[in-house]
């Protein structure tokens, strides 16, 4: 081999604590190295040109760049060597910035360590083989999981681009959390007025198929060729017959059913259409309240239904579809705030969540837009908002900021004043986080125009006294304990990953963080992609975000899916496992452990052998570490390569 080595100074980032020129000089002693130099900014255009020039002048067939982390610039340099006609996998990086120059001040030790890292990169490169990606066809159809605003946006964008979309929604209607909101910040426009048309578009778009009351059962296959099984849960209503007339709900005798859509504010009927704008507008039976199921007899809805759509015997249905890409937009849930016993832990009826308050304010809500207390139906005058309930709290394992509570609290304070002009709102806050277009102005309006009292401090106790509540907290700006008498307390409850997110993540084979939020592929540079090719993220499933960000992310996920499926053939990463059929004994251990089911047993001249399904393999190398004969080798991370690296470190 003829290897060229390039040691970067990265200005003074590396140069200040590593003798880059000295490392380059030493690198000339390494085997197969025929060229070595140092360079000021290797990633810059002149830097890359230098590599390209050296490749042609010295007939290099492999390149090592010692610079920043390969997680930063490996793709950049791979493209550069490819431009010079060298296979892009005949390239290795030594990380002498993040792992050397930035973490140590001793120049001698740093330079020595940098040289060591170059040495192992050279040893690894000597055992690299040129790799070429394979191509395979894909299914031009996208699965969108979750019909909140992010999912709706992703679905509409994909469908408008001409790609078929299948949308799966767990609830009876799409719309997600946004459909429950009264108004939205910072414009205070009506939530359902802006979301409603989009929901209708979903229902009417010829390219979109919507499955409500459905969940993902299982996923197999791989990017471009996923096979998805959808479970359509029995709603006891035949959607092909139901016209959404609502007669059934009107006549339903079980009127004390839990109202999920209204967050338990008020009750509903056992058979219901969750809200007037629901999409699909089909009735659904809640079996835990329906008398037909609870008591075994009733049948009122079946009798009154003009189209005979009620079918108590309906069973779950499994549906298999082929898709090329998937968008996970499963949204969020509220933290279980009842862990806070100092806020009553659910014992006080007039301590409500922000989302309940949205329903209490909403004109389409159970109170028809007139705010009243759940305890006695009186109109509250003093309303206290407490922020960061379940956010930024290490003690309950929710250390993160939920992002949008500051804003909706301001909105709710404003709306409270609009609804009840003689009311007074108080907001206990830790910090006001309003970094968005028009956001900070909005919170100021709440204070200045609407007279909301903002008190910087936490609340330590809420307790009832008479028919009011004493909210005791601290005003950290005044340095004093404060007590506010409140008629209603609204908790700005924080956000957590939707229930069962980890379970779904495991089905999708994507990672999730310790809070259950799905993990993006790279926090900055690949915020939409996941570690499983062809699975993209949108909305709060990835982490808390407000409506504009969710919509933007929905569009971004759509763009990624459209981009992926715009190609007729997809390219696979060639850094995958390969079976040396001569060494394989067909013991099947690799098949057992492969997380992707990417290895199958084949019959080779009467003997069992393992075979890697190239498009499925993700290159984790678990099979390689499992195979006792070393018959399965992960390209570019072969046993011999790692052994050579170990040896280079130990032997010298």
């Amino acid at each position: 081999m003829r290897i060229g080595v390039f040691i970067c100074h990265c200005g003074t980032n590396i140069g200040a604590t590593v003798d880059s020129a000295g490392v380059a000089e030493n690198a000339k002693s390494l085997p197969d190295v025929v060229f070595a130099t140092d360079s000021m900014y290797t990633c810059s255009e002149p830097g890359q040109d230098g590599i390209i020039r050296a490749i042609s002048e010295h007939a290099l067939d492999g390149v090592v760049v010692a610079a920043c982390s390969p997680r930063m610039h490996e793709p950049t340099f791979r493209r550069a060597v490819e431009r010079a006609g060298v296979n892009r996998y005949m390239f290795e990086m030594a990380n002498i910035r993040e792992h050397v120059s930035w973490i140590g001040k001793d120049k001698e030790a740093n330079s020595n360590k940098a040289f060591e890292l170059v040495r192992i990169a050279v040893e690894k490169l000597r055992r690299n083989r040129p790799l070429t990606p394979k191509y395979f066809p894909s299914t031009k159809r996208v699965l969108v999981i979750g019909g909140g605003v992010a999912g709706i946006q992703a679905a509409l964008d994909c469908a408008d681009a001409g790609i078929e979309v299948i949308m799966v929604e767990r609830e009876p209607s799409i719309g997600g959390k946004m459909a429950k909101l009264d108004k939205t910040f910072p414009t205070v426009d009506c939530s359902s007025c802006i979301l409603g048309p989009k929901m209708v578009d979903v229902a009417q778009h010829p390219k979109i198929t919507l499955y409500a009351c459905s969940e993902l059962e299982s996923v197999s296959g791989f990017v471009g060729n996923f096979e998805v099984v959808i479970r359509r849960k029995a709603t006891c209503v035949d959607n092909t017959k139901c016209t959404g007339c609502g007669l059934c709900a009107e006549k339903c005798p079980s009127k004390k059913s839990f109202d999920r859509f209204n967050e338990g504010v008020g009750t509903t009927t056992a058979i219901n259409i969750p809200f007037p704008q629901a999409i699909p507008k089909k009735a659904v039976i809640d079996k835990s309240f329906c008398r037909q199921f609870v008591k075994g007899k009733c049948g009122v809805c079946a009798k009154v239904c003009p189209t005979g759509a009620i079918s108590y015997e309906q069973q779950d249905e499994l549906l298999t579809v082929q898709v090329g890409a998937m968008v996970a937009a499963t949204g969020y849930d509220l933290v279980d705030w009842k862990v806070y016993s100092e806020y009553g832990g659910g014992r006080y009826p007039d301590v409500v969540t922000s989302l309940q308050y949205e329903r209490m304010m909403s004109a389409s809500g159970p109170f028809g837009g007139h705010i009243k207390r759940l305890s006695d139906g009186k109109e509250p005058k003093n309303v206290v908002f407490i922020q960061c309930v379940g956010s930024r709290d290490v003690s309950i394992g929710r250390p993160y900021c939920s992002g949008f509570c500051c804003m909706y609290t301001a909105k709710q304070a404003i709306l409270t004043k609009d609804h009840i002009p003689d009311s007074q709102s108080y907001v206990f806050y830790m910090d006001i986080r309003s970094p968005g277009k028009g956001y900070d102005e909005f919170t100021r309006r709440a204070q200045e125009e609407y007279g909301t009292q903002y008190i910087r401090g936490r609340v330590s106790l809420i307790y009832p006294k008479g028919d009011r509540y004493i909210v005791r907290g601290v005003d950290t700006l005044a340095g004093a304990q404060v007590e506010v008498e409140a008629d209603l307390v609204v908790l700005a409850v924080g956000v957590e990953a939707a229930a069962n997110s980890p379970h779904l993540a495991e089905k999708l084979r994507i990672s999730y963080d310790k809070f259950g939020f799905f993990m993006e592929s790279h926090v900055k540079l690949k915020p939409i992609e996941t570690n499983t090719a062809g699975v993209f993220l949108a909305g709060c499933s990835q982490g808390p975000k407000d409506i504009p960000s969710s919509v933007a992310m929905g569009s971004a996920a759509a763009a990624k899916a459209i981009g992926l499926l715009s190609k007729d053939m997809l390219e696979s990463d060639p850094q995958i496992a390969q079976v040396n059929i001569n060494r394989c004994v067909g013991c099947g251990k690799c098949i057992n452990v492969c997380p992707y089911k990417a290895i199958r047993e084949i019959d080779f001249r009467g003997q069992a052998k393992a075979e890697v399904i190239e498009a499925v393999c993700q290159g984790c190398g678990l099979c390689n570490a499992t195979c006792p004969q070393g018959a399965v080798q992960l390209s570019h991370f072969t046993d011999n390569q790692i052994l050579a690296e170990v040896e280079a470190l130990c032997r010298c």
Binding site: S29, L30, P31, V34, R127
Partner: protein
């Protein structure tokens, strides 16, 4: 006989210590539950009663030895003078030969072990090939053979022309008497080795005592069967897969028999490299392993252990004979039987082969035509060289 020396039991260690000053001295000692030949170390003792677990062949044919070492020199750096020219920085290789072997004495080796050199010599010192690595060691090594007073149930040197007091290839024959050792020089080189003042002239009666011991051992070996025609028998059974499958059923296909065998002499060559440097090693190989005959194509003519056992027995009792004047390349030490984890008994195979061959084609023709299926080519003189093995990295 003049030249016979006597070494008192108490002086053995002292004498070996004396020899160690100028030579490498190999002598058997206990290690764990095994008896092995090691460079003499008075502190670690000697074992001159129990029969050594391994043979002494590594004195001439180490388990692994350096044939040569090499380095790729650092190329001259710099771009070519004119555009379009090939760079002139092609690596040069520097090769170094290993150091010369030390003069060596193997003390206390068994007669069968010494006899086995008869198998090595035509291979490594043959008319076609001279193996310098072997020859230099052979010339620098003195064999002091210990006559067996006791024989084991696995001993059968008398079947193959050996003897408990074998002197073939020996330089000195040593026999343990009641109070010391009678050292009888066999060669001039042996005589020269016996010059220490610790060695006294042997009393006259000692030779007779020694002979009595030798005779006693010979007697306890019992009668040897007639192995005449064994080569023909084995050739005729070459294609008798059923026979070999039965014989090899219990074989584990490990290398114990061949690595303990004093006459097995196969090797493989590998380059071990590190950065710009490398060393070429010759190390023992075994025909009992599948890899031994694995071809680069992936094809393996001896993929079954039956074929491999056939090769081991065949080589010792047939193929080698044909090329080496009827010399059986087994010295009858019985180590392959004694240490076989599966109790495979080469004597039984040989006997069974004679019976089986007689039953299918009595009597075997004097010059049997090789079976049509595969022409059993006698082993190439230097077995290892013809082998294909993946090349070392680099």
């Amino acid at each position: 006989m003049p030249g016979n020396k006597f070494l008192a039991t108490a002086d053995v260690a002292a004498w070996l210590g004396e020899l160690s000053k100028t030579m490498r001295v190999f002598a058997p000692r206990n290690e764990g539950q095994a008896v092995v030949y090691r460079e003499f170390d008075a502190a670690k003792g000697l074992e001159l009663r129990r029969k050594p677990t391994e043979s002494a062949k590594h004195a001439l044919f180490p388990r692994s030895e350096e044939l040569l070492s090499f380095s790729y020199l650092r190329p001259a750096f710099g771009a070519p003078e004119k555009e379009g020219e090939t760079p002139s920085d092609v690596s040069q290789v520097q090769v170094k030969m290993p150091v010369e072997p030390m003069p060596t004495v193997v003390f206390g080796m068994l007669g069968c072990d010494a006899g086995s050199v008869t198998t090595f010599d035509p291979i490594y010192d043959g008319s076609k090939f001279k193996d310098v690595y072997y020859l230099k060691k052979r010339q620098a090594t003195v064999f002091i053979v210990r006559a067996c007073a006791e024989v084991l149930s696995t001993c059968f040197c008398n079947w193959v022309g050996g003897d408990p007091a074998n002197t073939k290839n020996a330089d000195v024959l040593a026999t343990e008497l009641s109070d010391g050792w009678l050292l009888q020089p066999v060669t001039e080189r042996g005589e020269k080795a016996l010059t220490s003042p610790l060695l006294k002239d042997a009393p006259a009666a000692s030779e007779g005592q020694a002979t009595a011991i030798h005779d006693n051992a010979r007697k306890s070996l019992g009668d040897a069967p007639n192995l005449e025609g064994i080569d023909a028998a084995l050739f005729s059974l070459f294609a008798d897969n059923d026979f070999w499958q039965r014989q090899s059923a219990g074989c584990l296909a490990c290398g114990t028999c061949t690595y303990l065998c004093p006459t097995c002499h196969c090797f493989s060559i590998t380059d071990e490299t590190s950065a710009r440097n490398g060393v070429r090693l010759r190390s023992w190989d075994t025909c009992m392993a599948s890899l031994y005959t694995l071809e680069a194509s992936g094809h393996n003519p001896r993929s079954l252990k039956a074929a491999r056992l056939r090769n081991r027995v065949g080589h010792k009792f047939a193929y080698f004979l044909r090329n080496n004047d009827g010399q059986i390349s087994c010295c009858g030490c019985g180590r392959c039987i004694k240490s076989c984890p599966s109790s495979v008994d080469i004597r039984q195979i040989v006997k069974d082969a004679l019976v089986q061959a007689a039953s299918i084609a009595p009597p075997p023709p004097p010059q049997p035509v090789a079976p049509a299926a595969a022409s059993p080519k006698p082993a190439a003189p230097v077995k290892g060289k013809g082998r294909t093995k993946e090349k070392a990295n680099g």
